[in-house]
């Protein structure tokens, strides 16, 4: 038996213990993302405050933010963007959990079915939904040919695309994101040991209690991750609300797009300020969501110990 060496905590030893290899391995990916994403954000910020750019005198100015925030349209758009992102995420999360539980034992076929919409570009989905749900779309024609009295012309079909309730947008996001989430949740679900459910049943859990107390908590990290990806995507998406959404108000990304493509180059800093506000809001929401989703705020200790 050899005696355990006492730990020397000299700076040199500490440096030697740094897992350089791990940092070296993540460096290429991390630096690319940092330069592209972080660098892009910094440059965007500099442009938005007038320190950098095509126009302006190069002096610091918050005029672009004033213009962005001062416009009533911004607040309407923010509201709409949040509404669409929250509703689409919440609906797809709940439905995906249900679907994943339903298909849990259905084998590989279920996963395959969920992969169907994976390779379809959003723009293709948009085109399909336009031709399906628009007043002269396939569903409208189907109802007409079935002899439904209230459809005597395409004017009678309820507006489902470019409608004020954004039903078309929601339909598209659910159509695309539910299979995506279900696919992820099914993979996570298969990683949960089935014996845990068995053990819960043997300790007196009804199937419902088993789902609520065991399966759902174990699935939580998967749910948080998947819904985070979906929320971030929906909140920042441009083409879907642009082509399928309401004409007024517009979502935030459309506002950015319009300011960016405006012939008036003075609108450019406003576009960038709007884009930065959009990024800032999503980062704040994501931080909040991750904090709540970690379960840490709700964890309590037993036995009255500090």
């Amino acid at each position: 038996m050899t005696a355990v060496q006492p730990l020397k905590t000299t700076a040199w030893m500490a440096l030697r213990d740094v897992p350089w290899r791990a940092y070296l391995l993540v460096l290429p990916a991390l630096s690319l993302v940092a330069v592209l994403f972080g660098g892009g954000l910094v440059l965007a910020f500099l442009q938005s405050v007038g320190l950098l750019g095509l126009t302006g005198d190069g002096g610091f100015s918050l005029a672009a933010y004033g213009a962005a925030l001062g416009d009533e349209q911004f607040w309407r758009s923010l509201g709409l963007s949040l509404y669409i992102a929250f509703t689409a995420t919440a609906l797809s999360t709940v439905l995906s959990i249900g679907l994943a539980m339903l298909l849990r034992e259905a084998g590989r076929w279920a996963s395959f079915a969920c992969q169907l919409t994976l390779p379809i570009p959003h723009l293709v989905g948009i085109a399909g939904i336009l031709l399906l749900l628009s007043p002269s779309g396939l569903i409208s024609r189907l109802l007409y040919s079935l002899g439904w009295i209230w459809i005597s012309s395409d004017q009678d079909f309820p507006l489902l695309v470019n409608d004020s309730a954004n039903i078309g947008v929601m339909t598209h996001f659910l159509w695309k994101e539910i299979p995506f989430m279900t696919l992820i949740l099914l993979a996570v679900l298969r990683g949960i040991r089935p014996e845990l459910g068995m053990q819960a049943r043997a300790l007196g859990a009804t199937p419902w209690q088993c789902f609520w107390n065991v399966t759902l908590p174990l699935l939580r990290p998967g749910i948080v991750s998947a819904s985070l990806i979906v929320f971030g995507f929906v909140f920042g998406n441009f083409e879907v609300p642009f082509l399928l959404g309401s004409t007024y108000p517009k979502t935030l990304p459309i506002l950015v797009y319009q300011a960016f493509t405006n012939v008036d180059l003075n609108q450019r800093p406003v576009a960038i300020a709007l884009g930065l506000l959009l990024s800032l809001i999503s980062i704040a929401l994501i931080a909040l969501y991750l904090w709540l989703g970690s379960g840490q705020p709700f964890r309590r200790r037993l036995g009255g110990q500090p």
Binding site: R193, R201, G303
Partner: protein
């Protein structure tokens, strides 16, 4: 089958894709009893346990617990608790929450269930562990938490499925001791499934031996060792000495001509067995009955005993496990004494020669 059985399995049968895993099983447990279901892996003992727990529906037969038939009763309403091989603590709950899990399901309020969980943790000597996560526990600690989690709901029947097989040998003894202590304290009826004969002997009042989905013998450990119903049972429990003989009353004539005395009467061709630890090896002819002159063919020291292989002049092979202090050289002549009360025999027509399942190694 007694009328007063606390838990009765009647005519239980379960097939998987037509292949029977459990066949026509009848077994009674008395209240407060410790029964071990022992058999090689794949013999159907875990299936039996799942049938009892309600995790599998039987193809036929029924289980009665405390006067209530459990046909169609889901697992959560059977008043049982099951401990599986690796403890299977819920990874998303703390140790304390794991123990309180069953109480929470039963609607016990938070203060009560926390108090009960803490008391139960104290009973399994894990005071102060309530806020740890399952991942921070050793295998033995996890298994103790699993035990506490099962006992805290005061089950009518505690089912243990190979509870100690994932633990290393030193720990296993302590755990056996703890389980016996907890069983004595709570008086819970215990059914333990194991492939380890040693564990079954230590843990159980009675052992039910199972091969190929069928019960072979249900008896006390002593009876199983001394009076196996046939060769398969004897071999599974470590029997190594088997020889053919013809019995006439208390007299046995071995095929090689030697004769032995029995303490019971038999007639006709029989199979004879004697446990190796019951064979006494003497350097000199100290008594006159049941003494066979032998040559030491092999001598192996195992730490706690010396295992000898002996051969008689007629070529009969005999194993004897003697205290380590006795030393015999290979090639030495000696005398093997087979005490009449240690000899056991059954009619030769029995299945002493059927294929014998190998007892499994202790570690998995």
């Amino acid at each position: 089958m007694s009328e007063t059985a606390y838990c009765a399995m009647q005519n239980l049968t379960k097939r998987f894709r037509g292949v029977p895993a459990v066949r026509d099983l009848w077994l009674d447990l008395h209240q407060g009893e410790r029964l071990a279901l022992l058999g090689p892996s794949g013999c159907g003992k875990s299936t039996t346990l799942q049938l009892i727990a309600g995790l599998l529906p039987p193809d036929s037969g029924q289980i009665v617990l405390d006067g209530r038939s459990l046909v169609g009763i889901p697992p959560e309403r059977r008043d049982m608790a099951l401990v599986l091989q690796k403890g299977l603590l819920f990874p998303h709950l703390s140790v304390g929450e794991n123990v309180a899990f069953g109480l929470k399901l039963r609607g016990v309020n938070r203060a009560d269930r926390e108090a009960q969980a803490l008391a139960m943790l104290a009973q399994v000597q894990l005071t102060g562990f309530e806020n740890r996560r399952p991942a921070e526990l050793s295998g033995g600690q996890a298994q103790r938490v699993a035990l506490a989690r099962s006992l805290v709901i005061r089950p009518k029947l505690l089912l243990l499925d190979e509870p100690l097989s994932a633990l290393d040998a030193n720990l296993r003894g302590d755990m056996q001791e703890l389980i016996l202590q907890l069983q004595a304290d709570t008086g819970v009826t215990l059914l333990i499934v194991t492939h380890d004969q040693q564990e079954a002997v230590v843990m159980a009042d009675r052992i039910a031996l199972m091969f190929d989905g069928c019960l072979r013998q249900v008896d006390t450990p002593e009876a199983l060792y001394q009076r196996p119903s046939d060769g398969t049972v004897a071999r599974f429990l470590g029997g190594v000495n088997f020889f053919g003989a013809v019995a006439a009353g208390n007299r046995l004539r071995l095929t090689d001509g030697d004769s032995l005395t029995l303490d019971s009467a038999h007639q006709g061709p029989v199979q004879v067995t004697i446990r190796p630890e019951r064979v006494q090896v003497l350097a000199e002819r100290l008594c006159s009955t049941n003494l066979l002159p032998v040559t030491v063919a092999q001598s192996r020291f195992t730490g706690t005993q010396r295992q000898l292989v002996l051969t008689t002049a007629a070529g009969l092979e005999l194993q004897a496990w003697v205290p380590p202090g006795q030393s015999f050289a290979v090639g030495q002549t000696a005398y093997a004494h087979l005490p009449p009360e240690a000899l056991w025999c059954w009619p030769a027509a029995g299945n002493a020669s059927v294929a014998v399942p190998e007892p499994e190694l202790l570690s998995h």
